[in-house]
Amino acid sequence: MVKEGNNAKRLRQALEQRLPQIVVAPLFAASMFFVYGFIGWTAYISLTKSGVMPDYTLTGIGQYVRLWSTPRWYVAIGNLFIFSSLFIAIALAIGVLLAVLLDQRVRAEGVIRTIYLYPMALSFIVTGTVWKWMLNPGLGLERLVRQAGWENFRFDWLVNSDYAIYTVVIAAVWQSSGYAMALFLAGLRSVDDEVLRAAAIDGAGPWRTYTGIILPILRPVFLSTVIILAHLAIKSFDLVIALTGGGPGYATDVPATFMYSFAFQRSELGVAAASATMMLMTVVAIIVPYLYSELRKTGR
């Protein structure tokens, strides 16, 4: 009896100790399989000669050689860098500026904040479509200004191969800078009043207060904003599809649209898998060191 009671108790204790693991295990297994399993599968496919159907015979790095000799891939990568650096920089700058201005205890702040934040509530497809109409030279802005009397006004970036990628930046910045503003505003509000009062007593002007004290305090907010914007930039697919369809030609292709078109339109699973793997590598190479250095600095 005593022995059995002991056994049951021990079993229960063991169960209690293991319960968190047991509860988490199925979820863990599922995400291992569906996320990391398929990442592995994609990496494997990139080393095969897969065309219309997956082919599991390993053939080495031929698909990567093919990928890196395709001019369209270079356009896609170039666009990703132009787009993400401009998008992150401009959205951050506008976000900070708006947040600082709103922080001056302006009247009707709630209304203004909502107006700036509202674009974030739209999907990228909607943003893309709306901006496609506005930027279309025959329908939108250019026509409007010309009708207003400036006959020689030109704004045809959307249909110009060299500038089309910047229209994607414009639309994305419009959509996301309000969100960056909200993050910064929350950060500004959490700055301790004591610090600001101390700064005021020491005679620091507003410029010095912001650049020297408040923005450095907001460093963690910068980190999370950059990460959120960066992942928006890297996975930007819907915006490009809706705004330019990758065109004119393939001038606004980004790696995600490149991969889609090779996998689903051209029956080249191998090249598509190779490009997906390259995308993953790029993200890992940029984000991991950044996260590492930032997290170490903040001591977490």
Binding site: F34, G51, V52, M53, P54, R66, S69, T70, P71, R72, K132, N136, P137, G138, D156, L158, V159, S161, T244, G245, G247, P248, G249, Y250, A251, S261, F262, F264, Q265, R266, S267, E268
Partner: protein, 417 residues
């Protein structure tokens, strides 16, 4: 993944249905992406014809992305070992699937019905794998059509549809002077490639077309004729309105209808747009082949996948016979705007453009100037076609020189092979 699970359960339900209803004339599941207007009506014709024979028809329409979504679904179904009976699949795509061992042949039906005698040889070759029919064509679309607005042409003082590219250029210059957009076009890669292949046929002739765009001969791809074709394409680029980028083809057709633009180069699905708007061929719009001798062929077909079970096999055979029956070819093509794939069907009920298409088709078969379309996935695998589209559209949207384009094209083709 969710999609995949959905497909599996759909497949499961399909399985249950097949147990429930055993029919004498078999059953088919048809995967297609004909979901809009005339196309959906055309598929409806096939469905009712099949059901009239006592079979069970399971419709699997998968819309979106010009068939990309359907191809993704197909891939998942074949991997899961449960392919549909017939799939709307064309051109060298048929060979790609056949190489995977995923297709059934319907040679018994084809021999019994003597398909070889009624199909254009170029088309028959595309439908066969290892000498046996694995697919059945439902129609023939002509790609090298030049559509014109007679009022616009009259305003600019042009009397007849141009028959050479020089005439076309002269006419376009007159139109420019009269303030009319000479050529309506949509800047999408497949449309750019459609212009390109029609120009290649016109500049180089059918033999050159075959060498360059079908056999992918390196010497032909870098030849002077190819450079000249690119020169003409560059000229066409100058005849567009500045706003063409990304435009859908039917919007370009509407520009011709309204008289904003004088010409459009597009396959005969554009005719469907004119007819749907109540326009009459000959008075409201003109149709003529693009300059040059030949006929660029595009054809939709149903490809037969490896299904198991007597019920399904029976259905597959019946479907193959129906698709190629003269009655069905007539009703289907009246609904879709193309012409029958069988060359022996009378075209009494069709419009003048379709009759012209049929006559030219017979002449082209006789003169051996019938060529498969590159832009519409009839001539070369999708991977190589993709390289063509990339290069042509890049040329079209930049100031690349014709020589450079020809060299780059040859390199790109080599890379994709």
């Amino acid at each position: 993944m969710k999609k995949y699970v959905g497909l599996l359960s759909a497949a499961g339900i399909a399985g249950l249905v097949s147990v429930g209803s055993a029919h004498a004339e078999g059953q088919v599941e048809v995967l297609h992406w004909w979901t809009s207007g005339g196309e959906a009506k055309a598929v409806g014709e096939l469905k009712s014809a099949f059901e009239a024979e006592g079979g069970v028809w399971i419709d699997s329409p998968i819309a979106g992305g010009g068939g990309d979504a359907a191809m993704t679904a197909l891939r998942a179904r074949v991997v899961a070992g449960n392919p549909p009976t017939a799939v709307q699949l064309k051109g060298p795509g048929i060979q790609e699937w056949a190489d995977q061992g995923a297709l059934n042949d319907v040679q018994d039906v084809a021999s019994a019905e003597n398909w070889d005698a009624v199909l254009p040889p170029v088309l028959a070759a595309i439908m066969k794998y290892d000498g046996k029919y694995v697919a059945a064509p439902v129609n023939i679309h002509r790609v090298d059509w030049l559509w014109g607005n007679p009022q616009a042409l009259k305003t600019a003082g042009i009397e007849a549809m141009p028959t050479t590219w020089d005439e076309f250029n002269a006419a376009a210059d007159k139109l420019l002077a009269a303030g009319i957009i000479p050529l309506a076009h949509g800047g999408q890669p497949w449309q750019d490639a459609t212009l390109f292949e029609d120009v290649v046929l016109g500049v180089g002739g059918a033999d050159f077309y075959r060498k360059a765009l079908v056999e992918l001969d390196q010497a032909a791809l870098t030849s002077d004729t190819m450079v000249k074709s690119f020169d003409q394409l560059r000229k066409l680029r100058g005849y567009l309105d500045p706003n063409f980028s990304g435009r859908d083809w039917n919007l370009a057709t509407a520009m011709v209808m309204r008289g904003e633009a004088a010409f459009q180069i597009m396959g005969d699905w554009a005719k469907g747009e004119f007819l749907a708007a109540g326009k009459v061929p000959g008075t409201d719009f003109l149709c003529a082949p693009t300059p040059g001798d030949g006929y660029v062929l595009n054809s939709d077909s149903f490809t037969f996948f490896k299904v198991k079970g007597d019920e399904n096999l029976k259905g597959q055979q019946v479907l193959a016979r129906l698709i190629m029956s003269p009655g069905f070819q007539e009703t289907f093509n009246l609904a879709k705007g193309s012409i029958p794939a069988r060359t022996d069907v009378l075209l009494d009920k069709f419009d003048d453009c379709a009759k012209r298409s049929h006559e030219d088709l017979l002449a082209a078969i006789k003169d051996n100037t019938l060529v498969p379309s590159m832009a519409h996935e009839m001539a070369i695998p999708r991977s190589v076609r993709g390289e063509f589209l990339d290069l042509v559209t890049q040329f079209f949207n930049s100031d690349m020189s014709s020589e450079e384009a020809a060299t780059k094209l040859a390199d790109a083709v080599l890379r994709a092979q």
